[in-house]
Symmetry: C2
Subunit: 216 residues, 2 copies
């Protein structure tokens, strides 16, 4: 018990906040925004509601903080993927697989729960726009680096990236009403093939980049 009671205030505070944020994200994913009450969050975090209100002035504060953390973490994930791409531990296909998984999993679902809310909530939308922009900037940098080397034009680079993201995002939304994993694999693979095809015209070198390690 000393291990617990011998912590600094800062540590106690940080741990509680961390638990609250994690509980919030879990709740949002598992229960949905409509059922995510402060009571439930506190309960899942294993702290009292009093502790919750002590650290967050309002429910909205807590939720936006949780959302920002989610997207920051995702941005960090993307950054790590970029490293692995540079180190050639993965190829473009592997990168796309990882990206698609993100858009078909928790990240998209939790974000989606609030995109609708953001449409009517100026402050929430503002914060989401900023952090989502950063996420996209990270992706853009990777994409640019990868395809520029292959000789693709800037216009094509931007278009193909955004098409890819919109496609994956649309697939993610569809998963709610269509539970059919092989279908999504088919779409993803078809897109990977098509992407190669599209860029072959402007960047002939791209083919090698994507087919080196993909044949398994």
């Amino acid at each position: 018990m000393q291990a617990k009671s011998r912590r600094t205030q800062e540590e106690r505070s940080a741990e509680t906040r961390q638990k609250l944020i994690q509980a919030t994200l879990d709740c949002l994913y598992e229960e949905g925004a409509a059922r995510t009450t402060t009571n439930l969050i506190a309960e899942r975090a294993g702290v009292s509601r009093g502790a919750l209100t002590h650290h967050y002035a309002s429910k909205e504060d807590l939720i936006t903080d949780a959302l920002v953390k989610l997207l920051r973490d995702a941005t960090a994930d993307i950054r790590r993927l970029a490293e692995r791409l540079r180190a050639e531990e993965i190829d473009l296909d592997g990168f796309l697989d990882a990206l698609c998984d993100m858009f078909l999993g928790h990240l998209l679902m939790v974000t989606l729960e609030h995109v609708t809310e953001a449409r009517h909530n100026e402050s929430l939308r503002g914060r989401m726009v900023d952090v989502v922009k950063q996420f996209h900037a990270e992706l853009d940098a990777i994409w640019r680096e990868f395809f520029h080397a292959a000789g693709a034009s800037d216009r094509d680079i931007e278009t193909t990236l955004n098409m890819t993201l919109c496609l994956f995002r649309g697939m993610g939304v569809q998963t709610v009403l269509r539970d059919d994993p092989p279908y999504y694999v088919r779409l993803r693979d078809a897109w990977k093939a098509q992407l190669r095809e599209m860029l072959k015209r402007d960047g002939p070198k791209i083919v090698q980049l994507t087919s080196t390690n993909a044949g398994r």
Copy 2:
């Protein structure tokens, strides 16, 4: 005065229900699901809350009914588009424009408000799945008719349609956080060009979109 007081029960009932459903859809779009209360709906519909509860046993009943109407109407719109496509009043580009508009407007937004809810609500999801399936079936028929003439395989037809829908859907979601109409026009046009390319390539044969990479 007689025109109002000399209506049959059936007519009164139908008009009230109609007003309630329309008010519900308006509310959902303009205020969002979170702010759509039965009070607000009744107020906007110009009927009493008592009338609302008389016609709909629960709020969920009303909302699912409204959603079903929305999607049925959209299905009817698609059907009309198919007619115009057959009559050659519009071409594939025009069809895609109309489709894209649907996915960037009220239809997607209102649906989106409930996709997240449907994830945690079995009965709502069931009803949505059914009516969305019908919507897709309608699109599938048109697509099939149009692309079959070009000699595309069933697999390719399915893939290109679903890619198109996921792309537009993903674009629609993005509109909430990125207000940039020219950007969406660029993406849409790029995709139209892409589809056209596929139609032209190899004469009547559409490329092996799905077999290039996924053929394993």
